[in-house]
Amino acid sequence: MEEEAEKEKMVKVYIMGREFEVPATLNIVKAFEYAGYRFVRGIGCRGGYCGACATVYRFKDDYRLNFALACQKAVEDGMYLTILPFVPAEKAQYELDKLKPRGTVLLELYPEIARCVACNTCTKACPQELEVMDYVQAAIRGDIKELSNLSFDCIQCGLCAMRCPAEIVPYNVGQLARRLYGKYVAPQAKHTHARVEEIHACVFDEELDNYSILVKEDVEKLKKIYVEREIKVG
């Protein structure tokens, strides 16, 4: 009986001002669809990875604004909902090969970060629960490593940029920093480079070609080799 009750529970939501009753088990994206909307904008992976469905909502008689990804948030009774179709944002253009991993690069390409008033509004708006203000501060200090790590889980939904009173686009600053970090600051994978050299020297080609021949001519032999290969994953 309890299961029955859960199935039938409905909540009242207001989609862009219009009232709809929808099942309580839906997320916001599915609630829109249940109500009859078909998405072209404000939709993407539906799995919390692409930032397309940045959402702003309020509850009746509550002054506070709330933020979420529509695909990752359950509907609640009394939600006033909208999904952002687009976020206008400045992105610097650069040739990564010509940049130096100096902290000042961030200020040169995104000078507006100096306008940060440390109000923390960006952090409150982040549906990924990132410390956005802290990483903007790291950007001002030129701490590429700290900024890269703090911003790593960013899905670039743009809510921070839309809320920033200093008109900073935190997520693009984070993107630049992470690329600088990955290319110049993080230690290089020497074993990968060594393997690439071996491949260029055609070290494995003969064996690969022999196996390809077996696929066509003696697949049973190849199956035996496959089954007998040593498994070392511990």
Binding site: K7, T25, C45, G47, Q93, Y94, H191, I199, L208, Y211
Partner: protein, 549 residues
Amino acid sequence: MERGYPDYMLESIELVKQTRERRLKEIPELMTLEEREAILRQYHPDYKEGGKRTVKVGVNAGEPMPHEAADLIEAYPLIEPEQIDLSTIDYDSDILIIGAGGAGLTAALWAVNSGADVDQILMVTKLRMGDSNSKMSQGGIQAADCEDDNPVLHYLDVIGGGHFTNDPELVKWLVREAPMIIKWHEELGIMYDKDEEGCMFVAPGGGTCRKRMHSCKDYTGMEIVRVLMDEALNLDIPTLEFTSAVELLMDDAGKVAGAVLWDMEKEDYFIARAKATLMATGGFGRLHIQEFATTNHYGATADGLVMANRVGARIIDMDSVQYHPTGSSYPEQIVGLLCTEKLRGRGAQPVNKYGEEFVYPLEPRDVESAALIRECAKGNGLVTPTGMPGVWLDTPLIDILHGEGTIEKEFSAMSLKYKRFDIDMTQDPIFVYPTLHFQNGGIVINERTGVVGVPGLFASGETTGGVHGKNRLMGNSILDYCVYGRRMGIYATEYVKNATVGKLNLDHVTKYTKLLEDAGGIPRTRKAPILLPEYRGERTISHALALLG
């Protein structure tokens, strides 16, 4: 924190906790090839009676496919050829790339690297740049770049995992170029997980004989794609967003010569002429084969297969569909979403409602999925309040094995996903069931990504077949779009140097329409490509149970 499970599920979790210590030591054995074959035949959805049929029209007549895919192949075009004005060329370029996910972006960047004029490239995507399954992949990318590993072992894993049905030539280039891709990514600034010496963190995956999975926490695809996008924006690669290809164009010499584009917002068409047309449209998860929930992006509707089929491209291995063993099955709001295989790579175990293990955690995906389905069929799973079946994936084992904080550090995406619904996966297991994940088969290409038998057309990524045979291993889909996206960019650039385009036509569309009419029994209302799935109201397929009770 509240525990976001109903009481009867919490009771089962207590049983899971009681066996945890024992299960740390006693892991089920790998199946033999014969046992794998037997469980697949009995429990894998591919073998389910009535799930597929053979296509009856066109160049792929006789190919077995799931009904949902066959319906798209046996469907009428969206356009009426005689209504389309081919005399006005809206976009004229050397290279037209259809799709801006992993394969499309990689091809665009390598076309530029290979000397293509940036302004002679046009990339179109029906949603935003980067929108793709590529962006959603979590666990990692395989590359045999560690000392105790090599491309030959990688080759064996790929071809054994694919049950020896793969195109060996495509497998060879896949494994051979994998380390180069990792190196290129490093140069682009992609932040792979490494130690202080620069040594890559590697994990095992289902069916691998070495630890070979490179990752960027559990955001691997997102990290790669956002960097590819950043680079495409830096290079100013001409891109049309919210613009889908709906039909390929041919010229009078029988070559593919661009596409009819459809503006998704303005509902207007455009003619894009090109010397080379690159298909990077991704897979078919949003067709919900056999009504399965899916991990896939909203746009995964197999448009590329539909268009390529009408110009005569061969399509293979569509009868095998990849179900990822562990999709979320609870809570309802996230049903079908991916729980990365890396969880099992780091020690999480599938466990039934009594707290008993029932399968080696890292069998190839099809085998692992079949084992989960069997366990539920035996009545050893649970059913959620909205009717979804499943078993437990015992995630707290990861922190026990590798130290407290490991889940938070390595699986921040996954733990946030569950935290949003009051589930702490470091303390409680998560509830999972197989979910529709990947199109194993697709368009037949050669090792230079040329579509076999169709000059002027190239393809790479999930829309193609052959690389993975009838089953793909974890970490080889990112690798696939990187290796073959790159090759597509390189070889298309080479091709256009000496290519010309003749007079445009849509005769193939007219001919295909005639074939459909002659075949009979195909409803006029069935049209393809579908571009986006339809979820409005009661047609919500993946949640039919929740909506219809």
